[in-house]
Amino acid sequence: MTTYIIGRIVAVVPVLLGVSLLVSSMIFFLPGDPAQLMLTEMGGAAAGRVTPEQYENLRRELGLDEPFVVHYAKFLGKALQGDLGRSYQSRRSVLDAILEHLPSTIQLTFAGLGLAIVIGVVLGVVAALRPNSIGDNLSMFFALAGVSLPEFWLALMLIFFFSFSLGWFPATGQGGIERLVLPAFALGLRAAATIARLTRASMLEIMNQDYITTARAKGLAGRVVVTRHALKNALIPVVTIVGLQFGNLMAGAVIIETVFARQGVGRLAVDAIRMKDFPMVQGTVLFAATAYVLTNLIVDISYAWLDPRIRFGRSG
């Protein structure tokens, strides 16, 4: 078990190094001169107010005056110390800005994931218990709609019906559970649909196993068989995709936060791309990818902990 965990942690290191390498090189792939581009975006170059000193200062700040190897080494060294540079728009520390916007994104992502797991598992089980029944068909239609609905449009429609027409929830902003319900639902529906399909498939397979027949034969109530014997095992593959879904939700938050005007990291990234604020873009992208890799690491380790075949078996 310990060897397994250490192995997983060691495997993550090159991935994170690769991610930081890609992110730090982004600025070198830009067509044209990034410093010039940023100054133009600020309106300075157009007005002819850019001095050569300003230009040189920005190039130095972005690390463009050095060879790439030096640039990357400095980038990595600073990032490891929590220094992601300064936003070129607000002159704020990128990390401070991210940390300030983070709670809102975490709240939204977890609320979306929670909703997705509850809705997905319930629908999947309902569908699997009576294959081809009305319940199955309805659940699977819901799942199909869930993967086919664009999140941002679903979000707009939710705002229209539940905020404008019914007045049940506020349309935008954050703070309080009433401002979390609609965004969490809009964000979580796609994941719910995926989880529902997987739960159904996994349940159907398990319900045909011998030990389920045995449990039935010895006279256990259907409910006990389903919850104790079947569901527990059926959920193992579901757990494995939770990490993946977490990443999708984090990326989806980029869209949902903008639609609901929430101050999250996703919105920070979108605004930064529009403003050509590269240090902020790099910081948010690096932060999100690192968070995703580390979350998957945790999911992997906890999965190993849950699965006795890995816990007691061969390591690695």
Binding site: P150, W153, L156, M157
Partner: protein, 295 residues
């Protein structure tokens, strides 16, 4: 020697035709696939016939009153500039379908080559390719596309390329996995023993046998690409107004949702119909091409 060379391709051709017809027959019996294909057909016909069928030019302002509700004159109403929404949706259809197909062609083209090469050759080539793919997969969902757009600059073409590149790692991984299984088959060993080169083996013997999962995944991926590009266009990171792109139309209509909900309803429905049709067809293809995957 010559008899072997002639016999192999002939056998293969017969088998391929059989597979195609069997798949088509199964698809026609698959209720979901037929419904999905019909939905796609409607959208595609709308896209192709847009110049003929659309009552107005997509960018023409003031063809009706501003924000007029749906009526016989304007089937889906008009937007704030008095443009006919129905005409704009028809013209947007070809845009969305093209963007979806081209983005997936980029993902599949690069992904298939990388996956085949990695899976077939193994060793250090595979090792390096897979490490790179692991790194790219560390950017979840649309985040990779988002990062690429920030580098390339904001336009619909760049967004399409970004979504295409964003899909390369998952394609490569899928193809590599299938290649690893297929290359162990006897016919690959036989082909190699009669002196077939790597290129011939990869493209004539392995590729056709890993095609099924690629076709299914590519289909489902088009649906994702359409959603991703319209979402990012909605955020202002893709197509720009006045392009009749569905995401842009939704973003235009957002302000007026309270008074003119049709402006935001119909473009969304158009995305939903296209994407749902593609998803239904993709599920049907999976059932038809590989019955073992059926649950």
């Amino acid at each position: 020697m010559s008899t072997v060379e002639i016999a192999l391709p002939e056998q293969r051709r017969v088998k391929t035709e059989g597979t195609v017809w069997r798949t088509l027959r199964r698809l026609l019996r698959h209720r979901g696939a037929v419904i999905g294909a019909s939905m796609i057909l409607i959208v595609a016909l709308g896209a192709i016939l847009a110049p003929v069928v659309a009552p107005y030019a997509p960018d023409e302002m003031g063809v009706g009153p501003s924000l007029a509700p749906p009526s016989l004159a304007h089937l889906m109403g008009t937007d704030t500039f008095g443009r006919d929404i129905f005409s704009r949706i028809l013209h947007g259809a070809s845009l969305s379908l093209q963007v979806g197909v081209i983005a997936v062609a980029i993902s599949a083209g690069a992904g298939i080559v990388l996956g085949l090469v990695g899976g077939y050759y193994g060793g250090w080539i595979d090792g390096i390719l897979m490490r790179i793919i692991d790194i790219l997969l560390a950017f979840p969902g649309i985040l990779l596309a988002l990062a690429i757009v920030s580098v390339l600059g904001i336009s619909l073409t760049n967004l399409m390329i970004a979504v295409g590149i964003g899909g390369v790692p998952s394609f490569a991984r899928l193809v590599r996995g299938s290649t690893l299984t297929v290359k162990e088959n006897l016919y690959v060993t036989v082909a190699r023993s009669v002196g077939a080169g790597d290129g011939l083996i990869i493209f004539r013997h392995i590729l056709p046998n890993v095609a099924s999962p690629i076709i299914v995944y590519a289909t489902l991926r088009i649906a994702f690409a359409i959603i991703a590009t319209s979402s990012l266009s909605y955020l202002g990171l893709g197509a720009k107004p006045p392009t009749p792109e569905w995401g842009v139309m939704l973003s235009d209509g957002r302000e007026f949702m309270r008074v003119a909900p049709w402006v935001t309803t119909f473009p969304g429905l158009a995305i939903l119909v296209s994407v749902m049709g593609i998803n239904l067809l993709g599920d049907g293809l999976r059932d038809a091409l590989d019955p073992r995957l059926r649950v």
